[in-house]
Point group: C2
Chain length 331, copies 2
């Protein structure tokens, strides 16, 4: 097994970590230095990604573990409208993951770092019984531009980027042992390689179009509940308007329900945001190839309601992911 | 078991997390905002603290787990000469740790946050099979004042704050099952409640007295090796000058060797720093009650050498802690 210093050297070699004006030191000291740009706030977030909690090592390729660990943390910055700059990596590894598995993990991590223009600023490594990753991302945003969860007002239109339920479809294929079949390989992609909507987030922030925003990490129903609670409002959404994931007929016959996946499926990492009515005309129907769909509106009474396919109005329970409530068997 | 939102609310209630000029939002959004002060760098570090890796839950009181998780991360900022400002908490908990254990953990964490004037800026919580903590600390330092590991030059004097080996003595008492005895209770304190040397670190930085510095987290011999490698130098230290931990005669008879504990014992979180010879007279013998001891000097040949009690010169192997090399049985 390699020494700690060898593992750190491999990380530094494979993941972008060059010093720059904003990051004056290389990694290797006790802490990293950051020089803040004028007129900007720093934006900070951290996200854990643990084996058997957030991913299954037997099903998820090492490169996808590295990629997704960073992508999902970056998504929190997208949800504020911020631009990521540097990240810190905390990495716990069992001995049998310090060889080829670690190399593939670092390839995936480096791919995400390059895609989102991020530089590694430091971290912590240790031996553990399962793979354990925590990512801290620091980004920046112009003072006054950050989009919070709490700004939604009655009458605002509710928008969702991309497709809803695609990541959960991939996860459910894995949990039912269907991920080995070549037929469904492409359906795993949204679960393994989510794409944080950084450009959309920062465009919405810069043009002050969104009154509230977050990313759909826990699932649309639960994340909408978070947004409405923070804003002190309710919401009404329409089943027929949802950009639901396309599910092949054979899987639908096996019980995969597109609407259920779209409403409660976790980890899409799309942006869920609200737009004041008078600004709606400034919003394109697609942004950088990603569809933007109006799925409902914010209401004053603090309930979440769903208008179903038949036009009937009923309650929408927040049935997405809760780490401490969702039964273990679900993932 | 409580829901995720309840756990987050308890954390926010118990740990300082008020908004301020530097931290304009409360916790609860996807990311935290930081407003940087003029003429300062931000300093960033992250540190994992995991059950059965970094601590034993059966031996370490929950309050000490919370306190130490933050204290050891803060120590990395002390080692740069920086002042901590805000922190992020990533917390994985098994179901049976979400009740009284979590309350005691948060009390310890809050105690450290108040002691080091830190505010919680955000984080991530999830269910896991063992307790898993990652702390990210952000601090600040005047531009140009940060003390790196790489600045030591031949002839510089090597200093160590406090006492060496006290934390390892506590750990070894636990590992040998001697921690239940009331006689040795006070000897556990250095292991459970280390005190990061923030005031000393920032004083050294402000007065530009230290040419290189780090904290003794892995053990004096290994940390001195880190410092010398980064600086491209060697070092010679003197056994008779070391501020070794006081070991009761009965424990010495049981094989607890003060010199071995001082040289290779981990987790003291004292400051190890080098001072150019012409600045040595500016250094007090104590700082805020903590002794500062000259233990040797930096040399040009890149070896670590120890002058033993009889004046004989021999090699000093870096035999402190390496997460991937140290045998598991040691802790």
């Amino acid at each position: 097994m390699p020494a700690e210093a060898d593992i750190i050297a491999r990380i530094a070699r494979k993941v972008p970590s060059r010093p720059s004006a904003a990051l004056p030191l290389s990694i290797g000291d006790d802490a990293a230095l950051l020089r803040p740009p004028k007129g900007k706030h720093w934006v900070l977030t951290c996200d854990a990604f643990a084996e058997d909690v957030h991913f299954l090592a037997r099903a998820q390729p090492a490169a996808a573990v590295g990629y997704k660990a960073l992508a999902r943390a970056v998504s929190d910055l997208a949800a504020m409208g911020a631009t990521p700059r540097v990240f810190l990596l905390t990495l716990g590894l069992p001995a049998h993951r310090t060889g080829a598995w670690l190399d593939a993990f670092l390839r995936g991590l480096a791919r995400a770092a390059r895609a989102y223009d991020l530089v590694l600023a430091g971290g912590d490594t240790f031996r553990s019984s399962a793979v354990f990753v925590t990512i801290t991302v620091i980004g920046e945003i112009a003072v006054g531009h950050a989009i919070q969860r709490s700004g939604a007002r009655p009458g605002d239109r509710i928008y969702l980027s991309g497709v809803a339920g695609a990541a959960e479809l991939g996860l459910q294929l894995i949990l039912r042992g269907l991920d080995r079949s070549r037929r469904w390989k492409t359906l795993l992609r949204a679960h393994f390689f989510p794409e944080p909507r950084l450009k959309l987030g920062s465009w919405l922030a810069k043009h002050r179009l969104a009154s509230a925003m977050l990313d759909t990490s826990d699932g649309l129903s639960t994340d909408l509940d978070h947004l409405c609670r923070a804003s002190g409002t309710g919401a009404r959404i329409f089943a027929t308007r949802l950009p639901v994931v396309a599910v092949p007929a054979e899987l639908r016959r096996q019980g995969f329900d597109p609407l259920h996946l779209a409403l409660h499926g976790a980890e899409d990492y799309e942006l869920l945001f609200t737009v004041p009515r008078h600004l709606v005309r400034k919003l394109p129907t697609r942004f950088g190839g990603v569809p933007l769909t109006c799925i409902g509106e914010i209401t004053e009474p603090p309930q979440l309601l769903l208008v179903d396919e038949n036009g009937a109005l009923g309650p929408l329970p927040p049935a997405g992911w809760d780490h401490f409530r969702t039964p273990r068997g679900r993932r």
